[in-house]
């Protein structure tokens, strides 16, 4: 049995027939080839699979593709274009601050933080840590991630180096 799903993904409308049990993460990765969204646990803890649904961060391993019917989904692929000279300020800040090593957790963190980015400049360190509490990173020890988020909240294109008390 399949069900119809009509969903906007990164600004493009997709109409597909999917098995009702298909996870959004698998739909994005394997049906649409949007492999920037990663799967690190499939039980809602690691945050690697985070995408935005109607602008809010959502764990795509905990959502069925059919539940996004009529909604708008945004993945890491939408933050900037491979052809762009300059990436999204958050991506530039991650690059400048060495906030990624293996990069497996990175798309989920970007999509989590980007959903809040309007308020980044006002966020305290504690608020940044809180915002990151649902994303695991095994490589970086998080410090440079916090610095990058700080830097992205500062004026400029995110190329600055953020500090963390």
């Amino acid at each position: 049995m399949t069900m119809h799903v009509d969903v906007e993904i990164n600004g493009v409308r997709h109409r597909r027939e999917v098995e009702p049990r298909t996870l959004l993460s698998d739909f994005l990765r394997h049906d649409l080839g949007l492999t920037g969204t990663h799967v690190g646990c499939e039980h809602g803890v690691c945050g690697a699979c985070t995408v935005q649904v109607d602008g809010r961060p959502v764990r795509s391993c905990l959502v069925l593709a059919v539940q996004t019917h009529g909604r708008s989904v945004r993945t890491v692929e939408d933050l900037s274009d491979p052809e762009d000279d300059v990436m999204h300020p958050l991506q530039e800040a991650f690059h400048a601050n060495h906030a990624l090593q293996c990069g497996f957790c990175t798309p989920g963190i970007l999509m989590t933080i980007e959903a809040l980015s309007a308020d980044l400049a006002e966020m305290s360190d504690a608020a940044i840590l809180e915002a990151l509490s649902g994303n695991l990173c095994r490589c970086t020890g998080y410090r440079n991630i916090v610095c990058a988020i700080r830097a992205a909240g500062e004026p400029g294109d995110g190329e600055g180096t953020g500090s963390w008390a």
């Binding site: 990663h38 803890v45 890491v76 692929e77 990069g103 798309p107 095994r138 998080y142």
Partner: protein, 767 residues
């Protein structure tokens, strides 16, 4: 401008940030099939049969294979060590099940969903046997035997400097222990195999592609050049992916038999119940010192819970071999005895995890130092100073034969103490205590071996580990220098740092250098792969010797063109020119265009003769919450010497990550089993990986005493940060509580009891 020593931005970042990384599970071919392993839910049992009829009937299932149908030999790590028994590991459980999570059969289907459904339908007929869940139990005479051997002790090594060790006058006897932990890379294991000609192409999330290729070829009865392993982006390894696993050989065999691509990506539950664990050890130690706190002897009994099997190709000697060899640590010690055993239990096999046996060795010698200090009344920093090897004593061959190359251990300690404000602490602590607050300060000095070469592996009898690494450096007709090595990138940034090294070795612009992903078909390279902090030392060495030869050829050919002697020529950015002669030069791209094929295609090997020895000191201040038992890290200082630093920002990132994992092991992470051999922490809800809130900012200070033991001057930076946090934090918490902390992780329930007792003592006026 030299590029080594500069924090060049990482080349790997952009695609990873834009969602264009390519990890194993991102690769798809038409007609790819998906494998799902059927795993035992029982820890120990006779395996009577596998009934896969119902599973086979599911639409979309292509085949279900058990051990009988697979009919391939077990993985037998090539270990030649008189103290070790052989531990063969069947690719799929055969006759017996030895841990919960062991693969019994595999379902192949046209979608992962169908494969998973069908795997649920495979019935395993078994007769349960009693589980063996602790080494104490496994060592009992009447314990069930995990293997077909008269004992569960699969490795038993004794070492002694003499029949009688000098004892006393101060004698301290303690038992230390470390719980099982695991590397937990955010990307679990995965492999995709595709038939190609008469062989196989494999994309694997691995740290050891060349070893994997050899293991697959040998296991499947193929010639070496029939198996090609390519390494796409790897989402972290930390040792866990340094091994060739049974599942990987099974998937490769299935692709060949079915004539179709087969993919396997484990889920997190499989990662926790079938990828290797680490650090499960109990050590009984007797430390003797004189009244001034100077060590007179150490006697250690190391018992490693190796789980059901070893790992390929390291076998089951990793921690049992490593820990006792480094228990003497950075200290002057002549009288030492140990016994070290690897004991089989019905648990997940023990393998590599960042630091391997050395965090435990450091825990032992650094807890011992604090205990000697307490016993003798000598200040704990001073006790260490009296025992630490002085800079002028190095190089120094330790009692276990480790050749500490260079360093200044005392300076590392003193810097850490200064930065943590040790001298001011006692007063602050006393004042806080009067206000009912429990502050503690702890520190630890460590020394680590890294970049082990073939002679050392051979000496340990680990014959399946190459010990050397190779590089293929090629100047192409387009003027680009391309570099392939045997060391895959799993987040360490070597696509960037190897380009920096190559650029400087050849004196070319770093923009002209391209480091390519590992592909065993290129250059017919052989080598070890990346573990034990070896990339910079061993891979860097291979790059250096390859570049020397390429440079020699370039200068020789340019000498003809420029009618000069090679000795008068130099390479500058993208050309060879006559030194000092201004205009007379020939561009590399023109040399390349005129050269015979292969002329500028160089493969060279580096086999480190001796390991190198990074070292350092960690110090921290903590506050213990007496109610929750929570340990808050107030300050954390790292002083380290990892040799010449290729890219400071990347090196610092390695240290941040390693320290975070060390802290995790000290305070949070524990793989615990019940008495039936069931892992109680088989999800990320139960296995507590720290989030951003649990990892404090870490202050890192570098020092550098040059070494001649490393060709490129680097000592390796991947692991050292994991060595000292357990010891430094345990010492700090012990200091806060006025009680001993001799096992990790430090459990909040135990800590809060001790904390309340401490406050009660204070209230009664007892100190």
């Amino acid at each position: 401008m030299p590029s080594v020593g500069r924090s060049l931005p990482r080349r790997e970042d952009r695609p990873l940030l834009q969602g264009r990384g390519r990890f194993v599970d991102d690769i798809d071919f038409d007609g790819t099939l998906h494998a799902r392993f059927v795993r035992s839910s029982v820890a120990h049992a006779l395996l009577l049969g596998v009934d896969s009829e119902e599973a086979r009937a599911v639409t979309g299932v292509v085949t279900v294979v058990d051990a009988a149908e697979l009919a391939l030999p077990p993985l037998l790590p090539p270990i030649d060590n008189p103290d070790a028994l052989p531990v063969p590991r069947p690719l799929l459980a055969t006759g017996k099940i030895r841990f919960a999570g062991e693969a019994v059969a595999v379902v192949v289907a046209d979608s992962p969903y169908v494969a998973e459904d069908a795997a649920e339908l495979v019935a395993i007929d078994l007769e349960a046997l009693p589980a063996v869940t602790t080494t104490a139990q496994a060592l009992r005479d009447d314990a069930p035997r995990v293997h077909d051997q008269p004992t569960n002790v699969m490795y038993d090594k004794r070492f002694s400097t003499g029949d009688e060790l000098p004892r006393g006058p101060v004698v301290i006897h303690r038992t230390f222990s470390s719980s099982r932990q695991t590397a937990l890379p955010m990307e679990p294991r995965g492999l995709l195999a595709r038939p190609h000609g008469d062989g196989l192409e494999i994309w694997a999330s691995t740290q050891s592609p060349h070893m994997l290729a050899l293991a697959v070829a040998a296991g499947l009865g193929l010639a070496e050049d029939q198996v090609r392993v390519m390494v796409p982006d790897v989402g972290g390894g930390f040792g866990l992916k340094a091994h060739a696993y049974p599942e990987e050989l099974v998937v490769a065999a299935l692709a060949r038999r079915l004539g179709r691509p087969v993919k396997w990506v484990e889920d997190r539950a499989e990662n926790l119940t079938s990828s290797c664990h680490a650090r499960g050890q109990t050590i009984d130690v007797t430390v003797s010192a004189d009244a001034d706190g100077v060590l007179t002897s150490i006697d250690a009994d190391v018992v490693v819970d190796m789980g059901a099997y070893g790992v390929y190709a390291h076998g089951h000697l990793l921690e049992a071999g490593g820990t006792p060899s480094m228990i003497p640590g950075p200290y002057r010690l002549r009288d030492y005895r140990f016994r070290s055993r690897a004991v089989a239990t019905t648990k997940v096999p023990l393998g590599a995890y960042r630091g391997v046996g050395l965090p435990v060795a450091t825990f032992v010698h650094e807890r011992a130092m604090d205990l000697v200090a307490a016993e003798t009344g000598v200040d704990r920093a001073e006790v260490r100073r009296r025992n630490l090897l002085r800079a002028d004593e190095l190089p120094y061959t330790s009692v276990t034969g480790q050749r500490y190359d260079s360093g200044d251990y005392g300076a590392a300690l003193d810097t850490a103490l200064r930065e943590i404000r040790y001298s001011a602490f006692a007063e602050e602590q006393a004042e806080a205590l009067r206000a009912g607050r429990l502050l503690g300060l702890g520190f630890a000095v460590y020394v680590e071996y890294s970049a082990v070469g073939s002679s050392v592996f051979a000496g340990r009898g680990m014959l399946g580990l190459a010990g050397y690494d190779e590089a293929n450096v090629v100047l192409g007709p387009d003027g680009i220098v391309r570099v392939w090595t045997t060391l895959p990138s799993a987040g360490q940034g070597i696509t960037t740092t190897f380009a920096q090294l190559t650029a400087d070795e050849l004196s070319v612009d770093v923009e002209l250098v391209e480091v390519r992903p590992v592909d065993t078909a290129v250059g017919r390279l052989r080598g070890n792969g990346t573990f034990a902090s070896r990339s910079a030392v061993s891979g860097g060495g291979a790059i250096r010797v390859s570049c020397e030869e390429l440079r020699r050829r370039l200068l020789e050919d340019a000498a003809d063109v420029l009618e000069a002697s090679p000795a008068d020529l130099e390479i500058v950015s993208d050309a060879v020119r006559v030194r000092g002669a201004g205009t007379s030069s020939v561009r590399l791209v023109d040399l390349a265009a005129a050269a015979a094929p292969d002329r500028y295609d160089v493969v060279r090997r580096h086999d480190p003769e001796h390991p190198v020895y990074p070292y350092g000191a960690h110090a921290c201040r903590v506050e213990v919450d007496p109610v929750s038992g929570f340990v808050r890290i107030l300050d954390y200082v790292v002083v380290e010497d990892c040799g010449r630093i290729i890219n400071p920002r990347i090196a610092l990132g390695q240290t941040h990550g390693a320290v975070a994992q060390g802290i995790a092991g000290a305070l949070y992470e524990e793989l615990s089993y019940d008495e039936h051999g069931q892992l109680q922490t088989a999800s990320l809800m139960d296995y507590l990986v720290p989030t951003a809130s649990e990892v404090p900012p870490v202050q890192v200070e570098h020092m550098h005493v040059p070494t001649s033991a490393s060709l490129v001057g680097a000592k390796g930076v991947g692991e050292s940060g994991t060595l000292a946090p357990g010891a430094a934090l345990a010492n700090a918490v012990a200091d806060a509580l006025g009680a001993e902390c001799n096992s990790t992780p430090l459990h909040p329930t135990v800590i809060s009891d001790l904390a309340r007792a401490r406050l009660a003592r204070t209230a009664e006026g007892v100190r």
